[in-house]
């Protein structure tokens, strides 16, 4: 009997401690685990970004709550966007996005847009590359544009994603800036797999793709990269010898940005907390190493500036998509 009461007293004390701790925590954010959504499949760009930022946030102790990554693939990112709408005002759901977030709305794949999320921070930039086969007659991106000005059907371009998606838009943007008139007429062949093999086999004339994809074939001399869409030269490896569009006299850049968003309607304090956490993360040497290994350019931008950037970029994409007849007003 005696023993039992000691036990229950002990239990009571323990409960009291728990209660105190948990009520103290409630004032503090974050108080429970996050979920980090990758709106694409495992192994893709969104998934990698989500996994690595969750890892750095945890490893450096910036956020001590667990951050498991959950994949919500489908609809080119639209499924993830719809999922976030169910988490309205919940600061414990984060999601990573890049330009397709804007494109899927502009082309009418989803009615939801970047306005239905709370931008927290832009983290990194990646850039596009325009490559030709090694024996291509085109020596510079200028040659390509000249050929297109004479006949917009002269160069068969290709990319790894569908018509009106990132690979397509980044080339159209360059062509438009170079003064090609009928950009709608430029043939764009959308590959589901193997666009690099198609370029190396000479089946297409020009491949519009991500910078990283070109490194191997370029080092091996299988292809030539005519231009990058970066604002200035990248400093590493073989790509350091490739001119930017600007250097080639085409005044434009295309940024494949990646950033972190929270659900719509998240409170101001939580928003500030999360943005600051991401800022701290982007200043760690651990994050530097992640960026170096993946070939990403560090490009931190806090939430207000990021929101303004999104608005401006959205307008640019809208103009391009209108020109090729893909824009669908929501």
């Amino acid at each position: 009997m005696k023993r039992k009461s000691t036990l229950s007293a002990g239990l009571f004390a323990l409960l009291a401690v728990f209660f105190l701790v948990s009520s103290a925590m409630a004032a503090d954010f974050p108080a429970r685990p996050f979920e980090f959504i990758a709106p694409g499949g495992a192994g893709g760009g969104w998934d990698t970004t989500a996994r690595l930022s969750a890892k750095v946030l945890g490893d450096t102790g910036i956020i001590t709550q667990p951050m498991p990554v959950i994949n919500k693939p489908g609809g080119g990112g639209g499924v993830g966007l719809a999922y976030m709408q169910k988490k309205k005002a919940d600061p414990y759901s984060l999601i990573v996005y890049s330009p397709p977030l804007l494109l899927i709305n502009l082309t009418g794949q989803t009615k939801l847009s970047y306005r239905d999320l709370t931008p927290l921070a832009m983290l990194i930039n990646d850039f596009g590359a325009f490559a030709v086969p090694k024996d291509s007659p085109y020596q510079t991106i200028g040659d390509v544009m000249e050929a297109l000005k004479k006949d917009p059907k002269a160069v068969k371009t290709g990319g790894n994603s569908s018509f009106g998606s990132m690979d397509h838009i980044q080339f159209l943007q360059a062509a438009k800036a170079a003064g090609v008139k009928d950009i709608r007429e430029i043939p764009y062949i959308a590959f589901q797999e193997g666009p690099m093999a198609a370029l190396m086999g000479g089946h297409i004339d020009l491949l519009s793709t991500g910078m990283a994809e070109t490194v191997g074939p370029l080092e091996a001399g299988e292809i030539r990269v005519l231009a990058l869409t970066a604002p200035q030269r990248v400093d590493a490896g073989v790509l350091g010898q490739v001119p930017t569009l600007k250097e080639a006299g085409i005044d434009t850049t295309f940024i494949n940005w990646r950033g972190i968003f929270a659900a719509p309607g998240v409170g101001a304090d939580e928003k500030v907390y999360l943005t600051e956490a991401l800022r701290k993360m982007s200043e760690t040497p651990e994050w530097d190493e992640v960026c170096l290994k993946n070939g990403w350019t560090k490009a931190f931008m806090e939430s207000e500036a990021f929101a303004a950037f999104l608005e401006k970029t959205n307008e640019e994409y809208k103009d391009l998509l209108t020109e090729i007849g893909l824009f669908k007003a929501q």
């Binding site: 989803t110 990283a212 290994k293």
Partner: protein, 500 residues
């Protein structure tokens, strides 16, 4: 001999305790992931990614490759025992593997599938060593028109597989092609047949179709007699050794040797995959056989051929990635990404700058295939006991497994509705004896075939002559014609290589 030296260098890297442990661990993980419907090598490697960042490049690559071919070994386990294919590559293992298990020959079926996979993988690895570079160069000549013709050949051969059911075969093919049109159209960005559902924008995943048509379809069909007492009887109660008889071996060895090169070559092509390899191998063997009517009733060579081919295919698929830096499949694309993070750039220079890593991977494939065979045979002895479970217990488990499997594809419940729908389709097809293989292959290649057709025309400014632009196209065209005519001709021509 430079080649021998290189291989010895490779073996010297692999034969360290750490690399051996990871190779075996990768093989086991791959086998298990391959067995579970819906999960495959791509998921396995993606999940391994964070772990590989801390490894040496050679170790990481050895582990990922082991997961890849381990999954090819494991994929057919559930095809044979439960009629639920683990992935597309294991569909062909249902055709004769499942009937074999139903006839009480599950041990032989599981054994031959491991043996055929082993031989296929081993020969393909030897081929990798000898012909990797020229073969990869040849694969680059495949552009949209060539892929289109290849898919036409694969589809017509599958649809024409039985001359009695030629008409039903083509119906099945057309239904499959219709299913493959769902989703966003790559060339125009237009949404087709998505009914406003975002989940359908990327199309209907073929894994849902195969799990529905085979797994759930089989359960539905068996529900007919489960009430009449059939549900209490186990299929098999006593189990023998997991091995094959001398006669089994004699029947299987030629098909294995014949279809390994087919699988290997299909694997090297960046735009074709293991499903095509396995179904092509099955078709070839049925057409070449003296007794094609035995195919589909549980004949061992009908299981051995596709098993050898799909494993050879997974080895072949590594060639474009390793030698050219071009991913040949979804799985190798993920591997390519991982390598770049590790600071290795796959491509022709890999063999010059990191010869130790490149040759270690090749050496590990020899040892890994042996490891997989050793893992799979005792494992099969365990798995085969699932047949001792009475259907009334087993079927609910299969249904649960099917639902979990499709959920892992997109983590969405839309797949549940599709799964039930395709289960009913599968039931109907079984009931009216409509062949299912053409439907599956059409779902797998349909979208790609359509896109390649339109891509080819765009590249040629609308000139249909592009489909006959070279010898590859013509060869594939005649093979397609021949595959439809062959079932009608074969009964009149004596084949010298068929044993009497």
């Amino acid at each position: 001999m430079e080649l021998i030296q290189n291989l010895l260098l490779g073996f010297s890297v692999v034969l360290t305790p750490l690399n051996l442990i990871w190779m075996v661990a990768g093989s086991i993980l791959g086998t298990i992931l391959g067995m579970l419907p819906g999960l495959g090598p791509t998921t396995g490697i993606a999940l391994l990614l964070p772990l590989t960042f801390t490894m040496e490049p050679a170790t990481a690559l050895i582990t990922m490759c082991a997961v890849y071919y381990g999954a090819m070994f494991g994929g057919s386990r559930s095809s044979i025992l439960l009629n639920v294919p683990g992935d597309g590559a294991a569909v062909a293992a249902c055709f004769d593997g499942y009937p074999m298990a139903q006839n009480g020959r599950a041990e032989a079926a599981l054994a031959i599938s491991a043996i055929a996979s082993f031989i296929g993988g081993l020969i393909a690895t030897v081929a990798f060593v000898i012909v990797a570079i020229p073969v990869a160069r040849f694969a680059l000549r495949f552009g949209p028109p060539e892929y289109f013709m290849l898919m036409i050949f694969a589809l017509s051969a599958t649809a024409a597989i039985s001359k009695e059911a030629l008409f039903k075969g083509f119906i099945s093919l057309l239904v499959g092609l219709m299913i493959s049109t769902v989703g966003i159209d790559y060339q125009t960005g237009v949404l087709r047949f998505t009914f406003g559902l975002m989940e359908l924008q990327t199309g209907i995943d073929f894994v849902v179709v195969i799990i529905g048509v085979y797994g759930l379809g089989e359960v539905f069909k068996n529900l007919e007699n489960i009430a009449s007492g059939g549900g209490l009887q186990a299929i098999q109660k006593k189990f023998g050794r997991i091995w094959i008889t001398l006669d089994d071996w004699r029947r299987s060895i030629i098909p294995i040797l014949r279809e390994t090169p087919v699988g290997f070559l299909v694997g090297v092509l960046p735009g074709a995959g293991a499903t095509i390899a396995a179904l092509m191998a099955y078709n070839n063997e049925k057409q070449l056989s003296k007794e094609p009517e035995r195919f589909g009733t549980g004949t061992i060579e009908g299981l051995a051929a596709p098993e050898a081919a799909n494993n050879a295919c997974s080895v072949g698929a590594l060639i474009p990635m390793m030698t050219l830096g071009v991913p040949g499949s979804g799985t190798t694309a993920v591997m390519l990404g991982a390598l770049m993070i590790l600071g290795l750039q796959p491509g022709p220079l890999l063999f010059q700058q990191h010869a130790d890593v490149a040759w270690a991977v090749i050496a590990s494939m020899f040892l890994g295939n042996v490891a997989c065979a050793f893992i799979n045979i005792p494992l099969a002895g365990l798995l085969v006991r699932v047949l001792a479970v009475p259907p009334k217990v087993l079927y609910p488990v299969i249904v649960a497994l099917a639902f979990v499997g499709v959920y892992t594809i997109n983590f969405s419940v839309v797949e549940f509705v599709l799964l039930i729908l395709f289960g009913l389709v599968g039931y109907g097809m079984k009931k009216y004896k409509v062949p299912t293989a053409p439907l599956i292959l059409a779902v797998v290649v349909g979208s790609s075939m359509e896109q390649n057709f339109r891509m080819a025309l765009m590249l040629a400014d609308g000139d249909f002559g592009v489909f006959f632009r070279n010898g590859i196209c013509w060869t594939l065209f005649f093979l397609a014609i021949g595959s439809i005519a062959w079932p009608f001709l074969s009964s009149r021509i004596k084949l010298p290589w068929n044993r009497s």
